[in-house]
Symmetry: C2
Subunit: 576 residues, 2 copies
């Protein structure tokens, strides 16, 4: 456990604990929280559960690999495996030919989702009966009209809880929002429903949504399915876990500093943070309403890049979010050919100048580079310019309302603050209220960075950047402090795909070298993060990296992602 000076100094900088009000919380709110938890427990259909091999706490401390066990213990029927290990776009094709029904598809994913919940604690809200009814409606509609409702017909999609869901509590990780029951779906839920998707599970996120981790006062921690000791990441914590475990065909998360990419990378799935304004974000709980210095972006997580592309294209071109939400750009998804590796130049970031990566990340970078070069890709080293300025600026942007809205949402219930909430409330400039003038100065720095990076890439003909999503693999729960690798691409607003490399941490290989141990840390933050890595405590953690392109060239990033993941790395997350 961390007892670093840095952490303590941040914790004690400002008397934020005064937002906690144990008496008010216990009296007015805890009963509601307990009911919420009980409702969640009751919503789990007993017939879909499995018997765990050991009590969950033992599995956690043993670093249990739930994905391995799912297959080795054959927790699903062959038919269920077949369905849930098929990409969504292929399931749609099968349903369009009548080879599968939406109900068959739904039942298989519902079963796998409930098992995911048992191992990883990924659910905030479960409604299997409603999902089944939706699936039945899709089938009835297909039977009647002979055609699908839309391109996501019958696809079981998991949703991060913060997105407004019609007639269901939507709290965004804040106890004080337990009474918030929206009458309408948020825009993205509505678009997906219009396209034929089926909803049945809403997933976990941390208190305040501002951790790359999962802890909250409703459901506690969510775990990495490949190693239950580790965090699934966050803030789309449940989405990382459920998509990596295969409990949904596609998941939807949101990302303001890494919140799609971290859980995808840590948990073992792929996740895409699109450029802003391609996917509608309106209608949901957020402490950042009206904040446009570094807006949150919604995006998909899943086990195939093809599915991510299919989702993006369907959502944009057929969902037309701009008719429901003027923030969204009517910018059609373009069909882009998979590039020829020989035409590609990729910049690779081995170190961002702020926090050194741990041995498994270093190994994955080297292995990926080796394969890229073997495939004919030109690889150059890319050290992000002004990374420190970018990171400091984005941190100020996160907190420049003095964390007013977070504090308000917290203070309204007096709920206990989790460890990382305290950390984050004190980060950046913490409680300092910026003036509009000061905020604008940050925006000017940001715009200059965006243009500087853009010109650099254009001038040097670098098509894409591959970099770590984090200095480490999935961390232990409540021990992820540094956002610098992911948040860089939030302040730049560059589309970024977190992808699995096929590399998993190996305690026998991924050790610090003698040389490593002589390293002089550049900051307390780096020391904190690096000292947290002990090879024996991260066994089998998947290693994800991220692929970045220029602003609004989302299509090119996905096309290159398909080349790299499918063809060059030959990673197939449906095979086990």
């Amino acid at each position: 456990m961390i007892t670093s000076k840095l952490f303590h100094s941040l914790l004690t900088k400002d008397p934020l604990d005064t937002y906690e009000d144990s008496e008010k919380y216990t009296k007015d709110w805890l009963p509601k929280v307990e009911k919420y938890r009980q409702d969640l427990q009751n919503a789990i259909p007993k017939d879909l559960t499995v018997e765990l091999p050991k009590p969950i706490d033992e599995l956690i401390s043993e670093q249990f690999n739930a994905v391995d066990y799912l297959y080795s213990a054959k927790l699903l029927s062959p038919k269920e495996f077949e369905i849930t290990d098929t990409p969504a776009y292929k399931l749609v094709e099968k349903m369009s030919k009548g080879e599968l029904t939406a109900v068959e598809v739904f039942k298989a994913f519902a079963h796998r989702a409930i098992i995911a919940q048992q191992f990883t604690n990924c659910a905030m809200d479960i409604f299997i009966d409603e999902g089944l009814k939706q699936a039945e409606e899709r089938d009835a509609c297909f039977k009647e009209n002979g055609k699908l409702v839309g391109p996501l017909h019958g696809i079981p999609i998991s949703l991060k809880e913060q997105m407004n869901y019609r007639n269901k509590i939507t709290h965004g990780g804040y106890v004080s929002m337990l009474d918030h029951i929206p009458e309408e779906h948020g825009t993205t839920n509505q678009v997906l429903e219009n396209l034929g998707a089926v909803f049945y599970i809403r997933t976990t996120q941390p208190q305040t949504l501002m951790h790359l981790d999962s802890n909250n006062n409703f459901t506690g921690l969510t775990k990495c399915p490949f190693n239950l000791l580790l965090s699934s990441g966050g803030s789309s914590s449940g989405e990382g876990a459920i998509t990596a475990f295969g409990g949904s065909a596609i998941g939807v998360g949101s990302d303001i500093g890494g919140s799609i990419r971290a859980p995808a990378a840590y948990s073992g799935s792929h996740g895409f943070r699109p450029t802003t304004r391609r996917i509608a974000g309106s209608g949901g709980i957020s402490s950042g309403a009206g904040q446009e210095s570094v807006p949150a972006v919604l995006g998909p997580l899943g086990r195939s890049i093809d599915d991510i592309e299919y989702w993006m294209k369907s959502y944009i071109n057929e969902g037309k979010p701009w008719e429901l939400d003027a923030w969204s750009l009517p910018m059609k998804w373009r069909d882009v050919e998979k590039p020829n590796p020989k035409d590609l130049t990729i910049g690779v970031t081995y170190d961002d100048g702020l926090v050194r990566v741990t041995p498994p990340i270093r190994r994955a970078l080297n292995e990926v580079v080796e394969k890229l070069i073997a495939a004919g890709v030109k690889v150059v080293e890319f050290t992000p310019p002004k990374a420190k300025l970018a990171f400091e600026t984005v941190n100020k942007m996160y907190t420049c309302d003095g964390n007013y809205m977070q504090r308000k949402f917290l203070a309204d219930s007096g709920e206990p603050l989790t460890k990382l909430t305290k950390w984050n409330l004190n980060y950046g400039d913490g409680a300092k209220h910026y003036t509009v003038k000061e905020n604008r100065e940050l925006n000017v720095i940001r715009d200059n960075l965006r243009t500087e990076y853009t010109k650099f890439l254009v001038k040097n003909k670098i098509d894409f950047i591959i970099s770590p999503t984090y200095s480490n693999v999935a961390p232990h729960s409540e021990e992820v402090y540094n956002w610098s690798y992911t948040a860089l691409y939030n302040i730049l607003d560059f589309p970024t795909l977190a992808f699995q490399t096929g590399v998993f941490q190996d305690p026998n290989v991924d050790k610090w070298t003698e040389e490593d141990l002589k390293y002089k840390f550049r900051s307390d933050l780096e020391k904190l993060e690096n000292e947290n890595y002990k090879p024996d405590e991260f066994i089998g953690a998947p290693v994800g990296l991220q692929l970045t392109g220029r602003r609004y060239f989302d299509e090119e990033v996905i096309a290159a992602g398909k080349l790299i993941v499918n063809d060059i790395l030959k990673v197939d997350l449906y095979k086990h």
Copy 2:
């Protein structure tokens, strides 16, 4: 002259005059201003000037129509008339066939520009020799390669002064910026230069850029070429005057509250405020750097909608501003067919609920509606919902840094404040510094308005909106107070084309009726604006209106604009 209570109360609300520092200004800055004025005077080639029929002050008080005079007195040669009365896209075609040279085109426009300057005082910076040299280079290049430099090859384009110009003073209307000599063009100047445009004149704007008028301490007032008593509008003041007079093929202005549309409408040309982020705004003087609640937008002014379309398409698709400025969207300009009038529904705003329009505007609206209906267009009345909230919110957005940057730029030189600077500094919440939290609340109001308007138009199948650009025709100088008609589409960020209707104010027709005179004013602002209209003082002023479409449907607005202006209203600004 206005002595309204409202105006005085705004003027005295805050002791803003303390930013003036007569001693400092006179000692440190006035000599530089005088040199600047002298340089401008010296830059006018004597051989391009004409003899004015009377001293300019007399022409002004006589409400002289300089456009009429240009033609009746044959101030240009037939060849010069032929060239300067040809749309830019046709000039390019002729140059591509060798039927015209860039030098011929340039000389004709340079001549007409200098005459425009004599009558309207539209220039801030003149450099005919450099323009000629550029034109010669274009011709040499064409001769050598047999093809044009780009789609704007040899087109003389006038530029609002605020846009950074390489190695030339760029002050944006602030005396304190007289020492600002950028080393590089602003992005848009660079894009236009890359496309082959020729530069020779930079045009006037008011102090602070935040008037829909022209007064500044460098050059004073700019005048409407159809009635020299009236203002050319602003803040792209010189662009309105020069394009309406025909002194440039196309002009470039910027618009944060009406600053392209007001000068186009008042002066007698067309002007387009695109949706944000299609035309690059980076590199220029602005008090709003980093302000993104209601960003300024650059856009073209000219005498033909076809030219505006040609400019937009060339700029975006071949200029690729996103490679120079990451703020710009890589969103290609789409080819959109001119719509069939029978398929169109147009909402018409006769009154925005805030300031009643004057008789010439009312007449133009009625005549346009009559012609639209005759052409088969479905016309419905459109009263903008929540116009008051929108106007109050956008005013707060303009001033929510407490006007800090404007004050700083003014205080740095101590220059005298013009009447409308005082008005604008005191408008909205004047000197109140907003916190980030308060600014975000404004953004949420804005986003809700945008979505409400979007959903309303989609639901009611209203394709476009036609509305006044202002409650009046071109006002007397320093007497335009109300921005509500234009600023609505800035806060909504809807693309809007100001277009000429072919209607001109007629003092015998455009009188207040008996009924009008019984009208009970809804506000002091309305009273102030309406009482300013006296039929005999606005003789022959052109009447422009504006055509608005949904956010990012710029292409559709321009296509509909071509239908309405060219085919239905049959307005041809090249014919006189």
